[in-house]
Symmetry: C2
Subunit: 147 residues, 2 copies
DNA sequence: CTCCTTATTGATAATGATTTTCATTATCAA
DNA sequence: TTGATAATGAAAATCATTATCAATAAGGAG
């Protein structure tokens, strides 16, 4: 699914949820859907404002709240802070984040769920959910550090 | 290693680091070392104050900063917030958190590192670090929800 | 054991991110 | 086209965290 399609999907999902379709929301969704990195509210505000003059920061917060509530967008936790948002995973995927440029990419982690149950089975916990994130260097940043 | 021993280890590590041994720090370490759950600064403050009258919240923040810097304590990220701290893992361990009571427990995850490299190998990322946390129900809370 | 340097302390003020409030504006169903 | 009402932006309020600073206490030197 490409970026414009994602934006469309998000706006439709919001509509189903009873939320109106506005210029502000469209701008915010477009920016976030096409972002290669997780973005924080202020960045998202600055970028989205280029597409929707007069946009307010508060609207960014409110839109993120809805998108997160609908499971379309996810908050990303990093050593440097936990206020960045990115397109949510499709199915059993996990994030891999470049610690140099911030680029984020999902990878399939379907086979991991089973393992977690098993590993945790050694204790008395009943596992219901898991958070997994990998940090490293993307291809571009590997090359950059070599040269 | 039991709780008083952990406290002692922490205070000694802080001493090596050049930090003085004070009543405030001892109280904070004692509380955090014996905690079964990750605690937020304000909670830690309230509890520690019972052992060290007049303790200030600011000192809790400062002590946490040192303990984290020395790798003795780790920040815990949860859906409800990212401002809780807990005893750091020993070696390749990961956290398992009870979503009902908050109880946290470490489990061995040594064999997982290899898997992450492998899984990520499908992409162009060079994995350097990983964050893994499991959420579920501890034994006590499983029983509670059954009865 | 006492003194003295200096790290540590708590109270207060400042900061920065996020939320709330509210009057105005825009969406969209009828 | 119209009207009920959701959505908006500006400003104020809130909350956690950080910086400031004068008073205090830790702990090495003597």
């Amino acid at each position: 699914m490409n970026d414009p399609a994602i934006t469309q999907t998000w706006l439709e999902a919001m509509a189903v949820h009873g939320a109106r379709q506005t210029a502000a929301r469209r701008a915010i969704c477009e920016v976030l859907a096409s972002a290669a990195r997780a973005m924080e509210p202020l960045e998202l505000f600055t970028e989205s404002r280029k597409r929707c003059a007069g946009l307010g920061l508060v609207t960014v917060y409110r839109t993120l709240e809805i998108l997160e509530e609908l499971g379309l967008v996810a908050r990303v936790h990093q050593p440097g802070g936990c206020n960045r948002y990115i397109r949510a995973a499709e199915g059993h995927q996990h994030l891999m984040i470049c610690s140099a440029c911030g680029k984020a990419e999902y990878f399939e982690g379907d086979d991991l769920s089973r393992l977690f149950q098993q590993v945790a089975g050694r204790s008395d916990f009943l596992v219901q959910d898991h958070w997994l994130q990998l940090f490293g260097l993307c291809r571009a940043c590997q090359s950059a550090s070599t040269s």
